[in-house]
C-alpha cells in the first residue's frame, strides 16, 4: 500500500485513490504513418521495466482526476518524487543519464 504525494492536491494520499498508467515520457510519434512496422512496434510494445529508478504516470482518479508523474524505485517501492506533466524528473537513474548523453534526440522519441 503506497502513500503517494499528489502534486495537484499537494498532499500525501492513499494508493486506493490512484491508478497506475504505465511508463512516463513516452512521446507519441508525430507522424505514425512514416514509421516502419518495427519502429511503430517499438513505440507500442517496448517498455523499460527497470530494476530501480522508474518514471511512471499515475492517475488520481478518485481525487482531483489529474495525471502526474512519479519517480519510483521498483525495488524498494520508494517514491522519490512526483511532478507535473510537462516537467522533467529530478531523479534519474545513472544508466539513463549515460544513454541520454549519447543520444541526439530526446528520450522516448523515435
Amino acid at each position: 500500500m503506497l502513500l503517494i504525494h499528489c502534486p495537484h492536491c499537494r498532499e500525501d494520499r492513499e494508493e486506493e485513490e490512484f491508478s497506475y498508467s504505465g511508463e512516463a515520457h513516452i512521446v507519441r510519434p508525430v507522424e505514425p504513418e512514416a514509421l516502419s512496422d518495427k519502429e511503430w512496434g517499438d513505440y507500442l510494445f517496448f517498455r523499460k521495466n527497470p530494476r530501480g529508478i522508474h518514471h511512471e504516470m499515475w492517475y488520481h482518479g478518485i481525487g482531483c482526476r489529474r495525471y502526474f508523474y512519479a519517480t519510483r524505485n521498483t525495488l524498494s517501492y520508494e517514491i522519490l518524487e512526483t511532478y507535473m506533466v510537462g516537467e522533467k524528473p529530478q531523479v534519474i537513474a545513472a544508466i539513463d543519464v549515460a544513454i541520454d548523453a549519447h543520444r541526439d534526440t530526446p528520450r522516448g522519441t523515435l
Binding site: H8, E14, E16, I62, G63, C64, R65
Partner: protein, 219 residues
C-alpha cells in the same frame, strides 16, 4: 401545463431510505458510547438535503478573469487552494482539482448556468449534474462521526482544521467501495456528495457501519 406539473413525481436518490434506522447494539450500549444531543437511541443522524442544483464547473483558476467572474456571480471567492470550499447562504463551491469545482446551490440550474456563462469567457465548461448526485449530512457525537469516517474512507479527516461558517475543507476520496466528496462544516458535522447510482449502497453501508452508535437516515 400547470396541473400536469403538479403531478410530476420527483424522487431523490435516498428517498427509499428516509426514516430507516439501525439500532445501537447492546455491546456499544454497555461500553457507554456517548449519545448525541440527548437522543435516547441514535448517536448518528444522516440527512439527505432537499434536491438542489449541482453544477460541475471547469476553467482556469489562475485566470483572474475566470475567478473574478465566478466570485461576482456567486458572491464567494473561487477556492484555489487545494482541498477547500467556500460557501454563503445560497452556494457552496468545492475545489475538486486545479481546474475543476463542484457548485451546489439553491438557485435554479438553468438560471445559474446562464448567469455564469454570461459572465465567464474563454475555455470553460459548466455541466448540470443535479440529477446525478445528492448531498447528505452526517452529524452526531464526535466519536460516532469520526469513527464512521474512519470506517468508510482512507482519507485522514482528523488532520483537518475546524470549518468556519463561510469556508472549510473538502476532499474527493473513497467512501466504502464508492466515492464521495466529503467536507466539514462549522457545526462539526460532515457533508457528503455522492453519486445517485451508488446511493443505495452507501445508505446500506452507513446503516450497517452506524449500528454500533444507532443510526437514523432522514430526508
Amino acid at each position: 401545463m400547470s396541473n400536469k406539473l403538479s403531478s410530476i413525481k420527483v424522487e431523490s436518490p435516498l428517498q427509499y431510505f428516509h426514516r430507516r434506522t439501525s439500532h445501537q447494539s447492546q455491546v456499544a450500549a454497555v461500553n457507554g458510547t456517548e449519545l448525541f444531543n440527548g437522543d435516547a437511541e441514535f448517536a448518528l443522524v444522516v440527512k439527505e438535503a432537499p434536491i438542489c442544483t449541482h453544477l460541475n464547473l471547469r476553467g482556469d483558476g489562475r485566470d483572474d478573469g475566470f475567478s473574478a467572474g465566478v466570485s461576482e456571480v456567486l458572491g464567494i471567492p473561487l477556492p484555489t487552494e487545494p482541498g477547500h470550499y467556500h460557501c454563503n447562504h445560497e452556494h457552496s463551491l468545492y475545489w475538486l482539482g486545479p481546474d475543476e469545482w463542484m457548485l451546489v446551490s439553491q438557485a435554479g440550474a438553468l438560471t445559474l448556468e446562464a448567469a455564469l456563462r454570461q459572465r465567464l469567457t474563454g475555455h470553460i465548461s459548466i455541466v448540470d449534474l443535479s440529477g446525478g448526485q445528492t448531498l447528505i449530512n452526517m452529524r452526531g457525537s464526535n466519536t460516532a462521526v469520526q469513527t464512521m469516517l474512519k470506517k468508510s474512507s482512507v482519507y485522514d479527516f482528523a488532520g483537518w482544521p475546524s470549518a468556519q461558517t463561510d469556508k472549510g475543507c473538502c476532499v474527493q476520496t473513497t467512501f466504502a467501495k464508492a466515492t464521495a466528496v466529503v467536507s466539514n462544516k462549522s457545526d462539526g458535522s460532515f457533508d457528503l456528495i455522492i453519486r445517485r447510482s451508488f446511493a443505495d449502497y452507501i445508505a446500506r453501508w452507513l446503516l450497517d457501519a452506524g449500528q454500533e452508535f444507532g443510526c437514523r437516515i432522514e430526508g
